[in-house]
């Protein structure tokens, strides 16, 4: 299983700061799998970090040590 750390409103919507899903090969598959189990996240804006690096293309490193979904914050 892949473990994903959720932050901000994403953790609130999912009801957990950390969720586990089946392994996926790419970002598109990852999102699909997450949205299937946590549909409330589908309408949210967020960026994805793999191994503490933001990923911008539809690719994932083979060795995944950590995964995080980061929504924008704006309060101040």
């Amino acid at each position: 299983m892949m473990r994903i750390h959720l932050f901000g409103v994403l953790a609130e919507l999912a009801g957990a700061a950390c969720i586990e899903i089946r392994p996926c090969r790419n970002i598109e598959g990852l999102k699909k799998e997450v949205f299937q189990h946590y549909p409330a996240l589908a309408n949210q804006d967020f960026s994805i970090a793999v191994n503490n690096i933001l990923v911008t293309e539809d690719s994932m490193p083979e060795d995944i040590l950590s995964l995080a979904f980061l929504p924008p914050f704006s309060g101040g």
């Binding site: 750390h5 932050f7 901000g8 409103v9 309408n43 949210q44 804006d45 960026s47 970090a49 503490n52 690096i53 933001l54 990923v55 911008t56 995080a68 980061l70 929504p71 924008p72 914050f73 704006s74 309060g75 101040g76």
Partner: protein, 367 residues
């Protein structure tokens, strides 16, 4: 001798390994612009002033309100109703009179962003609206200024030092959050503890001081996410993205000739709209938020659903938006005007809170 007296107040930081007199002199020669004098801006300014940053600009158009006092520790109850930047100027003059202050008692807008930012070495974003944050970011990119991002959601903090280093290393806010299609809530909507603001604003000041004093930091082109409940943190490296979403200038919108600037309504203006036919009144609060409105006809579209339910609005009709405090309705107005080019949009400034207050005052006047 004169130098020794001058720097005596900074002695405890000058003796720090990695800091010293050289760093102190660098701070003295530095110019820092703090945009936003609220929950982030107050602690940030306090520590910049304390550290001896020689020139500080403060931009904020707001007045001090009672509900600022729990987290914006520069202000006292006597300051309620005064311009925040005036109160801060008084504070700095008392705390560290050697510092040169630029008091800008108005909000940052596209029309003034370049002139406000261009004279500074570092820009610290202490605002609370994502749209303004993108404007600061874009202006910093354009003017090649280091940009310190800081933001809060409830108990979590995000801090980043952006647009620094060699050209190929420089990143920006749009590299972290490339597009904004959903609204992002402010502290007014999601709630905030003063101590969390204190931590976040202090972190922004610390990043500015380290940058100006040429000290090392792990936040160069990286995003810190700090959870104040668990005291856990992640540092995420940001990668430069080749493709970016270009901000939409409403004046360049396809229907330029029909474009009318959106309007902010006061209580009187809003009540006048209630009497008009063919006006679509839209409550953009979330379902179940109190008070429930039954005194006039309206439709409910929570701000978070505005994009998905856009077809339920008729762009040919006048649209008047409202919410609890006027923040979400302002954002909804900007979305309808800037992104969908609805030609006739307005919102209730200050929201239902201001409306009820105005009605109450009217009733008291009649009595």
């Amino acid at each position: 001798m004169e130098d020794q007296n001058k720097y005596h107040r900074y002695q405890r930081q000058i003796i720090l390994p990695g800091f010293g007199m050289e760093a102190q002199k660098l701070l003295e020669q530095s110019k820092v612009l703090v945009i936003g004098a609220g929950g982030l801006g107050c602690p940030c300014i306090q520590f910049l002033v304390g550290a001896g940053v020689g020139h500080i600009g403060i931009v904020d158009g707001d007045d001090v309100a009672e509900n600022n006092l729990h987290r914006q520790m520069i202000y006292t109850p006597e300051d309620i109703g005064r311009k925040k930047t005036d109160c801060i100027e008084d504070y700095i003059l008392k705390q560290n009179p050697d510092i040169h202050i630029v008091n800008a008692p108005y909000f940052l807008k596209e029309s003034n962003a370049t002139s406000l930012i261009e004279g500074y070495d570092v820009v610290i974003d202490c605002t609370d609206q994502i749209k303004v944050r993108y404007l600061i970011n874009d202006t910093c990119i354009q003017l090649n200024k280091p940009y310190i991002f800081g933001a809060i959601y409830r108990y979590e903090i995000q801090i980043a030092l952006l647009n620094v280093g060699a050209a190929h290393e420089k990143t920006e806010l749009r590299d972290i959050f490339p597009q904004k299609s959903n609204p992002v809530s402010s502290c007014e909507e999601s709630g905030i503890l003063g101590a969390v603001c204190g931590i976040a604003g202090s972190m922004q000041a610390l990043e500015a001081i380290k940058f100006l004093a040429k000290m090392p930091t792990s936040l160069n082109n990286a995003l810190l996410i700090y959870n104040t409940l668990q005291h856990t943190r992640e540092i995420i490296q940001i990668k430069k993205t080749p493709m970016k979403v270009v901000k939409q200038d409403p004046m360049n919108a396809p229907n330029k000739s029909n474009y009318k600037p959106p309007v902010e309504l006061d209580a009187e203006g809003f009540l006048a709209k209630l009497k008009k036919d063919h006006v679509q009144l839209v409550d953009v609060r979330n379902e179940g938020e109190q008070p429930i409105i039954d005194s006039f006809q309206h439709i409910c579209i929570p701000l978070s659903e505005l994009h998905s339910r856009i077809k339920s609005l008729d762009p040919e009709k006048e649209i008047v938006l409202f919410c609890h405090a006027g923040i979400r309705s302002l954002e909804a107005m900007e979305i309808l005007s800037d992104e969908y080019h609805f030609p006739n949009v307005s919102h209730l400034r200050g929201g239902l809170v201001k409306l009820y207050h105005a009605l109450q005052q009217k009733q008291n006047a009649i009595k």
